[in-house]
Symmetry: C2
Subunit: 302 residues, 2 copies
């Protein structure tokens, strides 16, 4: 067992840059984080940013660098085109993109695309977390939920990602709270389990897609009539959207659905899922490390 | 038949002030419009604004003034509390609020509230349009659609408003376009009937309330994959939301649903409704005039 550096893994997203220095066993030797997401990199100077952030790790010699996230999008450094589902490790490896960088070989994990009912969907970054979770759990099949700005429900079978669905839950929550009349009745928000639970119940109730448009107005009337205190309305809105999301997604997935998220968000989803009869299991957020290691191995980088 | 002024009718909303000088037959003798909605009136100086706008009409003597809209809300001049459904003309009249104004007697039409499945809904201003439409058409029952920022579907029976549902369609469209990732792919929008129709079809397809959250993300992928040209994505989004709204609301209403809206908006809804097999009839937008006249008569003001 060696503690010698073997791989640099970089999660380079829209807002943040996160790098890990790993040894051959996937242990974290060092880490760097900076608010230098791709939107904060001026003039395409990705190589300069990377050199500044991980340069010291490369002082002792070349190391393979494996990246995932929006760095591989059209707005990133080098586009790593989406690989189509079903996609296994070998498909990811075959679609790795190479970025020009003098001090190291830099590979970028492609995102995935899928199609259902004539409509496309995409993930970018979450594929690395899912392959990491499969490896960490030692399983080949299962369902994964990666909630957030864009909530992703991913299904794996026989070691391949076979499909997924994106819900704009987090982003719609923020847009509704900050840029519609609903926010006017939410001056000082405080957490409210009760309001969240009522939201989940109302959001998951039967109805068509358009019912969400009327239930959103119901957040306003719940405030107007004092059904829910103003400071709890944001949690009611959150529950409404998360309840609708889970009720729509759950039938296509087998329990337990594995949730990969920060602690607070994972607890919100766990509570809502439990209310709606869906068994979930919250995974440690660091399963992305196993993803980098697994992909790097399959690619022969380590 | 006299052309003598008999009534001042004021539609005083959030953003705009619109006043009509009517004769005893409901004919419009004069009109005033100003961007002096209730949010633009500083320090509660509603009486000053009203005097400035309609003062000249009162030079020849006192006239009754009848107002509707947000001027009767908690943020307005005097609160005219919501009357409960079922609500007929006599219920509106009984709930008229009186505002303090030296030069004339000022009455404010109350909004309406309803309750379904334990949740409240409200309208304020639309009740006057609906009673005007009933009077203008000479009917006692029917369904009305008043689309816009908040789209209202209103059902009348035996001369009373018996229920209604609000959809946040217009406001959610604006929030999604202007404040989410969806707007990034919509640099220069141009009208596209084709994209709108595809949106209606996708928005009205079967699914649960949460399906709207994934279909919204589909606006992004439709742009990413070139399924719909960038300049047509806004119309696709509009169709998606309007299609979802109509599919959800239509089953609770009898055709023809009467649409009260500006020309362009009414045509969008007419096209979408026709696609979805719902017969609609677009009413002239000035049916609100008949509403003021009908309510004023019932109140003995004219």
């Amino acid at each position: 067992v060696s503690a010698a550096p073997a791989l640099v893994a970089v999660d380079w997203g829209t807002s943040n840059f996160r790098a890990l220095l790993l040894d051959g066993e996937g242990r974290v030797l060092d880490r760097r984080e900076a608010p230098r997401g791709i939107l904060a990199v001026a003039g395409g100077a990705f190589a300069d940013v990377l050199a500044a952030e991980i340069g010291p790790w490369l002082a002792g010699g070349r190391l393979p660098v494996l990246m995932s996230g929006m760095i591989g999008s059209r707005q990133g450094w080098i586009e790593a085109p989406y690989a189509a589902t079903p996609a296994g490790l070998s498909d990811l490896v075959a679609a790795l993109a190479v970025a020009p960088f003098a001090q190291a070989d830099v590979h970028i994990v492609p995102g995935l695309r899928t199609e259902a009912a004539g409509r496309h969907d995409v993930i970018r970054g979450e594929e690395t977390q899912v392959f990491g979770a499969l490896a960490a759990l030692g399983i080949q099949s299962g369902s994964f939920l990666l909630p957030g700005t864009h909530s992703k429900w991913v299904r794996a079978e026989s070691g391949k990602v076979v499909g997924f669905t994106t819900y704009m839950t987090g982003e719609l929550f923020a847009a509704a709270r900050d840029h519609t009349i609903l926010g006017r009745l939410m001056p000082d928000s405080r957490p409210s389990d009760d309001a969240f639970r009522r939201g989940v119940e109302h959001g998951a109730a039967p109805g068509g897609p358009g019912a969400l448009l009327s239930r959103l107005f119901g957040v306003r009337t719940a405030g107007l009539f004092g059904d829910i205190p103003g400071e709890a309305l944001a949690d009611y809105l959150s529950g409404l959207l998360i309840g609708a999301e889970i009720a729509d997604a759950a039938p296509a997935h087998d329990a337990p659905v594995r949730v990969i998220a920060s602690h607070a968000l994972a607890e919100h989803y766990r509570n809502a899922a439990t209310m709606l009869g869906l068994a979930v299991e919250v995974l440690p957020a660091d399963c992305i490390v196993a993803g980098y290691r697994t992909i790097a191995r399959a690619a022969g980088l380590v």
